[in-house]
């Protein structure tokens, strides 16, 4: 009997809780739907005047007076920031944000809710509110900063060309992943990247890999730096350097390339074949022909792709498709002759 009563009591309490929560959420949903409708109407009202102001066609702008109006304006501003390009427009967006939303951003940045702080950081980044740098620095130094916030803060610091970011990436609060390093380096100016390059050896492995990738992605002409990396004992660094050179289309002499094309590691052979395809030197054809029969499928495929790109390459592929002793080489040549890749 006692057990039944206890179970019934638990059910009644749980049910009462759920029903109260349900009623609360129904009311909330109804109010939120209404608020969203109002927000939409306000955004509609601000849309044209704000656009004209940002494009410099209008000098005056009706300023937001209620929190809802401010929210509507901020959402629109964020929308335009991703849509409109041009220094003047971006400058107007930044000035407007600094004039009207700094207090709001400051409060959000010191909120105890992680999601609110993150949203504030997203807005600061989109609207380029550089005036918030001291607050961001404070957040970065605080104990409550999380891994996600650290990554976002460093990316924004990099965008704002904030010099201390170089020291921060060398000694981050939380270990950064290669992906995060790439995002940060991707936002850095040449000035900051040069500073990082000078201290390359101090970077953790993930940072080193990301930095080399960034040379390729941003097509930076760092020939001597990359050539030096090719002599590294670390396979991963050599592979990344070859990949970056292939991205840039930075030629490498046949003799040096041969060493990498004959590497015992398939990753290195793969990247060397990719680089060979960019070098456009007929002398490389025999070396690549050998790789058509490589024991690794991806290397065979890359070698065929490289041959197809080199002058006289298609003739070589035609010969391979007919006469190569290796069946894999014949198949791969056939596929690339068809122009598929």
């Amino acid at each position: 009997m006692m057990a039944l009563l206890a179970a019934l009591a638990a059910t009644a309490v749980f049910l009462a809780l759920l029903v109260s929560l349900f009623l609360y959420l129904v009311v909330q949903k109804w109010r939120e739907n209404r608020r969203q409708a109002q927000l939409c109407a306000l955004k509609e009202r601000y849309h044209l005047p704000l656009l004209r102001y940002l494009l410099g066609e209008e000098e005056q702008l009706p300023l937001p007076s209620s929190p809802l109006e401010r929210e509507a304006m901020m959402e629109l501003l964020d929308h335009f920031a991703s849509l409109l390009k041009g220094e003047q427009v971006q400058e107007r967006i930044r000035t407007l944000a600094e004039m009207h939303f700094q207090g709001w951003l400051r409060r959000r940045l010191s909120s105890r809710h992680w999601s609110e702080r993150m949203n504030a950081l997203f807005l600061i980044e989109d609207l380029q509110v550089k005036a918030m740098l001291p607050e961001m620095e404070r957040l970065y130094r605080s104990d409550r900063v999380t891994r996600g916030e650290e990554a976002k803060l460093l990316a924004i610091f990099a965008q704002f060309d904030y010099s201390p970011v170089v020291a921060y990436v060398l000694e981050p609060k939380y270990e950064l992943t290669e992906f995060t390093y790439r995002v940060i380096f991707g936002h850095m100016s040449e000035r900051l990247l040069r500073q990082v390059e000078q201290r390359f050896d101090e970077l953790p492995r993930a940072g080193k890999c990301a930095f080399i990738d960034m040379i390729g992605i941003r097509r930076r002409g760092e020939r001597s730096f990359l050539l030096e990396l090719l002599t590294s004992d670390e396979l991963e660094l050599r592979v990344r350097a070859l990949k970056a050179m292939a991205e840039i289309g930075m030629p490498l002499e046949a003799a040096r390339l041969e060493r990498h094309l004959c590497s015992p590691h398939w990753q290195e052979r793969l990247m060397a074949a990719r680089l060979a395809g960019k070098c456009r030197e007929e002398r490389l054809l025999p070396l690549l022909y050998e790789r058509l029969g490589d024991r690794s499928f991806v290397v065979r495929s890359e070698a065929a792709a490289a041959i197809a790109r080199l002058p006289g390459g298609r003739a070589v592929l035609r010969t391979a498709a007919r006469t190569a002793a290796d069946r894999y080489a014949r198949d791969m040549a056939k596929q690339w002759l068809q122009g598929e890749g």
Binding site: A7, W114, N119, R182, A206, D213
Partner: protein, 469 residues
């Protein structure tokens, strides 16, 4: 004497069921709290900004999307169209026509103007013969493999063999993906530098939503009780079950309807196996492989990315589906029985597998016994009626109230349903769950166990209307 012995037996069985249900109830309540804490933390986070960066091709890694299709003529074009419209920098879509007997292939050829091509395919995983490979001149990243029928796992393995990219994603031919789902599901994999080897998103019921040209235009709720109950069931399974398990790397299921995997790991694990629950089977093997190689790898679930799928609308179809799911569960668990309570496999052996054996697999059996005890007790006098009421109360808590909590959790955090009326319907129906839906599905799932024991095999597919058409 016989009657007394029978009564005693009934009471003992009833007590076992009661204790079992109470333990499971407490466990689910713990998962509910864990899910609530996590979802509240991210609940107001901008739903696009964190992913914007990934649109830059130099940060994202390319994905091969595999769509196994067997007699999917009703929905395949819409599904493929929705995949061609997703926002992701670099991907290919490989539809694997697994010997369909309807016009699946013809519809694809007609609609996308497919042309046969020559493509070298490595047979790294065993799969039935590929008869032809097609490519669309309009969408060069769309390929169709036409192969002999070999089942879903075989089709996926053929797709993996043909895939060019380092990540693979399997998507059911009857589902519709939200445009940004990929960016969201890939983010943790990219950010973790390979620590996350598989990641799955949420699957929701598409019936009732407005879908135009392979895209969800308006989220809605079907007014059919059977579909509403499945909607609630999906919410409960994903928000409560998977989120809690994923937080502790205990996940053994990444939904077959939408999951992304690291291809080298899938290859090493041997690809998909021919079981009714090939998705779960693969995830268990990935966990196993990671443990055996002594590498810290994670398999995670992300609540936000949504894949919409068509739920069965008739009792017959639903029964077939549930039987198949449960059979798959038992087959996978049985294949990997050596992991159960095996400390060598850490938390997977000591927590995950016991959870799946004793809660997921045994749950419907215990539930069904509970319902039978309740019915029998009602005929055996006062003492037994009291016990029956106790058991019924616990099953209401276990079934209806936890489902109602899941519905409210969704509303509090995700808010996918825009209308107030949808919330009202969901809440009302969740409270009726114990009275009709749970006994039904518990029975069907028990049938699945019987099928597995009798080694019965069938595709178990349901009739499609084609939600995305």
């Amino acid at each position: 004497m016989m009657v007394e012995a029978w009564r005693g037996f009934l009471l003992t069985v009833g007590h076992v069921v009661l204790v079992y249900m109470t333990i499971v109830l407490l466990f689910y309540t713990f998962l509910l709290v864990a899910a609530f804490i996590h979802l509240r933390r991210v609940h107001r986070l901008d739903d696009w900004e964190p992913y914007e960066e990934l649109l830059d091709a130099s940060y994202a890694k390319p994905v091969s999307i595999l769509v196994p299709a067997y007699n999917e003529e009703a929905g395949i074009v819409g599904s493929v169209r929705s995949l061609l419209a997703i926002e992701y920098p670099e991907y290919e879509v490989i539809v694997i026509n697994d010997g369909s007997t309807d016009r699946t292939l013809e519809r694809l050829i007609e609609h996308f103007h497919l042309q046969p091509i020559y493509r070298v395919i490595r047979r790294q995983l065993a799969a039935k013969e590929i008869k032809a490979v097609y490519q669309s001149p309009d969408y060069p990243h769309l390929f169709v493999l036409d192969k002999e029928n070999g089942g879903k796992a075989d089709a996926l393995n053929a797709g993996i063999n043909a895939a060019r990219y380092p990540y693979i994603c399997s998507i059911d031919g009857d589902s519709v993906l939200e445009r940004r789902a990929f960016l969201k599901v890939m983010k943790p994999m990219l950010e973790s530098d390979g620590e996350v080897i598989a990641s799955g998103g949420t699957v929701r019921v598409a019936n009732g939503c407005r879908i135009e040209r392979g895209e969800i235009v308006k989220v809605g709720l079907s007014r059919r009780p059977l579909v509403i109950m499945q909607t609630i069931e999906y919410l409960r399974a994903f928000l409560l079950g998977r989120l809690g398990l994923s937080r502790h790397n205990l996940l053994l299921i990444v939904s077959g309807a939408f999951g992304v995997f690291s291809k080298p790991w899938v290859m090493e694990a041997g690809g998909y196996a021919d079981t009714a629950g090939e998705d779960m089977e693969l995830v268990v093997r990935l966990h196993r492989l990671a443990r055996e190689k002594n590498e810290t790898k994670k398999i995670i679930y992300i609540p936000d990315p949504v894949c919409w799928t068509e739920a069965p609308e008739t009792y017959g179809d639903l029964r077939r589906q549930r039987r198949r799911w449960h059979r798959g569960l038992l087959e996978s668990l049985w294949r990997h029985r050596s992991l159960l309570f095996n400390p060598k496999y850490g938390s997977i052996g000591l927590l995950s597998l016991p959870y799946f054996w004793f809660i997921e697999l045994l749950g419907p059996v215990m539930e069904l016994i509970g319902y039978m005890v309740v019915v029998c007790s009602l005929f055996l006098g006062n003492l037994y009626v009291e016990f029956a009421l106790l058991l019924l109360t616990v099953s209401v808590l276990y079934g209806s109230l936890l489902s109602a909590a899941a519905v409210l959790l969704e509303e509090w955090t995700e808010r996918k349903f825009p209308n107030v009326s949808d919330l009202v319907w969901l809440f009302f129906f969740s409270l009726t769950e114990t009275l009709w839906y749970r006994p039904l599905t518990a029975w069907w799932r028990c049938e699945g166990v019987i099928d597995a024991v009798r080694r019965k095999k069938q595709w178990g597919s349901i009739k499609r209307k084609g939600v995305s058409a």
